[in-house]
């Protein structure tokens, strides 16, 4: 860890070898339809890890957790970027965007990897919420509006879904 904070290139190479696969997996779970873009995001993620390694605080969690969140946030940012949105041919109409995404998720059961496989074990009404929150990066408020359910229900369901997820990981 110290070697990393001192920006030791060798230590960084070791870090890449150990975590690139896991991070690439999560990026691909968010950017599902574009491997090239996922690769670009992975590259950007590691460069960001290198730049921001000094801001990593061990007391707030493990290094992998920190890196995983950087990868997730970068992926969601890419997903939401204008250029990505424009590249999507089968765009929903703007006013229906939430519903469309939700439907997409429910239909999208094939070819799931990583955490998404875990989601399959969840009840559909739970799974869609985790999908929207974790893999699409919507806030609870956005999800509540999207799904037309109360904010409290969204929170409770997501918490319950996450607890089931933990059970699965055991």
């Amino acid at each position: 860890m110290l070697a990393l904070k001192e920006r030791n290139n060798q230590a960084f190479g070791f870090l890449y070898d150990n975590y690139a696969g896991a991070l690439y997996s999560i990026i691909k779970q968010i950017i599902t339809d574009n491997n090239e873009l996922a690769s670009d995001v992975l590259q950007e993620v590691f460069i960001n890890i290198w730049r921001k390694i000094e801001t990593y605080d061990q007391t707030k969690g493990r290094l992998f957790t920190w890196m995983l969140n950087i990868a997730r946030n970068a992926s969601i940012d890419t997903l939401r970027s204008k250029s990505y949105q424009n590249s999507q041919k089968n765009q929903e109409l703007p006013e229906n965007v939430y519903k469309g995404v939700a439907n997409q998720i429910i239909q999208q059961n094939v070819d799931n990897i990583g955490l998404k496989k875990v989601l399959e074990t969840l009840k559909p009404e739970h799974r869609v919420l985790v999908e929207l929150a974790y893999f699409k990066g919507f806030t609870h408020e956005e999800i509540a509006e999207m799904m037309s359910i109360p904010l409290g229900t969204v929170k409770t369901r997501i918490r319950n879904a996450l607890l089931q997820l933990r059970q699965f990981l055991k």
Binding site: R7, N9, W50, R62, T65, G114, L165
Partner: protein, 271 residues
């Protein structure tokens, strides 16, 4: 607050996966500083998540690593100059202070060495002088002893020589107790006197030895009573019918004061 309920509420998973709101995160982090069991539970979930993610890893295209390391290498090269200078200055300072410490030590050592060498030099010089003086004294003594020994050997040789005539000088009426022996080597003409018993004289007077040659006294030298029991070499004489000892003024007289004749001895070669 019931920490067990809190742990089981799903907040840990929500926090770790980045789904917690800003206020939830702040609250969670605050509780983490207070409840070690919360931290332990968080860590446990993180480890599981990491293990699962690693198991489900997807190998990225190899060129990504190359690009990443290239970019990072460029950044570290440009980052180095801004980061390093203070470190370099520190190191220079350290080496400077260390080398000046070494210099101080060396200087002190040099001074000590110089003082020690000067001391040793003078000590050796003094010893050398002392030894030289002692040697000179010894040499002088040896020379003295040698000359004494040579003299004694010469005298012994003369005395024991077959040509040597021993003349027993007996006391006269003036000085009946005076006695001395004259050893006269007729071949080499050497004359030795061995004082047996001659009374002490005032400091302005000395004994004088005479050889009586054809009735005429010839001076053979002066001597003191303190020269008792010492073989004295007197002046040489070729001929002598008799030897006589008189008391004369210090330094001797040209002719003997016969009334003060202390002893007389006749040679066998009386002609």
């Amino acid at each position: 607050m019931n920490i067990k309920e809190y742990i089981e509420s799903g907040i840990i998973e929500s926090y770790v996966m980045g789904l917690a709101s800003e206020s939830e995160r702040a609250e969670f982090e605050r509780y983490c500083t207070q409840y070690p069991e919360l931290v332990a539970a968080r860590r446990k979930f993180e480890e599981k998540l990491e293990a699962y993610a690693s198991e489900n890893a997807v190998a990225p295209p190899p060129e990504v690593k190359v690009k990443v390391l290239e970019a990072v290498g460029k950044e570290s090269r440009t980052a180095v100059p801004s980061n390093q200078p203070p470190k370099i200055i520190n190191m220079e300072n350290q080496t400077q202070s260390r080398s000046s410490g070494v210099l101080k030590f060396l200087a002190a050592a040099c001074v000590l060495l110089a003082v020690a060498m000067v001391f040793l030099y003078f000590q050796t010089k003094q010893e050398n002088q002392d030894l030289s003086k002692a040697n000179d004294r010894l040499l002088q003594k040896v020379t003295e002893t040698d000359s004494i020994l040579n003299r004694i050997v010469g005298e012994q040789k003369a005395i024991k020589d077959s040509n040597t005539i021993v003349v027993n000088m007996v006391g006269t009426k003036v000085a009946p107790r005076s006695s001395a022996n004259v050893y006269w080597d007729s071949a080499s003409s050497k004359v030795y006197l061995v004082v047996k018993n001659m009374p002490q004289l005032p400091t302005d007077q000395q004994y004088q030895l005479w050889a009586l040659i054809d009735g005429k006294p010839t001076d053979l030298g002066v001597f003191d009573a303190t020269d008792q029991k010492v073989i004295l070499q007197m002046k040489d004489t070729r001929k002598a019918q008799a030897f006589a000892i008189t008391i004369e003024q210090k330094g001797g007289a040209k002719s003997p004061t016969l009334e003060k004749m202390q002893s007389l001895g006749k040679t066998m070669l009386t002609q």
